[in-house]
Subunit: 93 residues, 4 copies
């Protein structure tokens, strides 16, 4: 069980909504909607995904990483490293 | 007809793929996959969406904005303003 | 003369302010300030720089790119391409 | 003493370099350099600042946050929350 388990239903619902938004983008292109309106909608989808990612990350730090630290094994430093790499990918994408 | 018309099929295909990636994210959460693996996949989807947006923007500048400028009416300044706002939303999201 | 010439003094002033903010960051590290407070300040500097970039870009589109398009030579497509590459670098950084 | 203390000299050196880069941007505007060249340089400065922020964040997670968790007090959850807010500001800026 991972950190996001407690909010699993919420994440599933948000990702379902993002899937619908992407389908909406597809429809906009198909129906030749105005470029700028499509771009506005792409920004909204990106923000929704980012928000899911930030939630997952906070759950991960507060559970998986916290547990590794609390257990005091050599795993803690590796978990911090791994989380930092994920943060870097988010910041740079 | 807007700037992206010439690449419409390509955009439709890429958005279909993004939709599949989001569905894949939903499945990862459903199957309790590891947080970091989900985050890696979110970054990939975000980058794919960004790439669609950058393509749409270039098509928009090269066609819709260029046409407004070439026609020389008062519409040109407004088009540049509108595109700049869309760019700001992309940069900040 | 480039697109930003009309706002040159404004840009010079904003960049002087950013320089001061970076010097402030240096001082915060030197004086062992709290990590999170330094990070908050880094985000502020990044946003200030982004805002300068978005301004320069809008001036560039409205002048340099618009002029190349209005002149109707083969230079226009190249200018749009070049601006699009700069936008991509901003979005991805 | 905070998490970045061990790398303090490195951070001071990098921030000094960023300060020089911002001064370089000021000079480019003053000397009427080409917009796109200035934008390329702004992206480089933004990336350098982001890299400092990601380093500070990793040090913070590995020391300040890890210590709060290891001490097991009620402070741990608050530290994770605070770090997550800082990450959100970085991702959105």
């Amino acid at each position: 069980m991972y950190g996001y388990a407690q909010n699993k239903d919420d994440y599933l619902q948000r990702l379902r909504r993002v899937e619908g938004q992407v389908r909406g983008l597809h429809r906009m292109v198909e129906e030749d909607k105005y470029c700028i309106d499509i771009l506005t909608q792409v920004s909204a989808v990106t923000r929704a995904l980012e928000s899911v990612a930030l939630g997952l990350l906070e759950d991960h730090l507060g559970h998986c990483v916290a547990q590794a630290i609390a257990e005091g094994g050599g795993d803690a430093a590796e978990k911090v490293r791994e989380a930092s790499d994920a943060i870097a990918r988010l910041v740079r994408s």
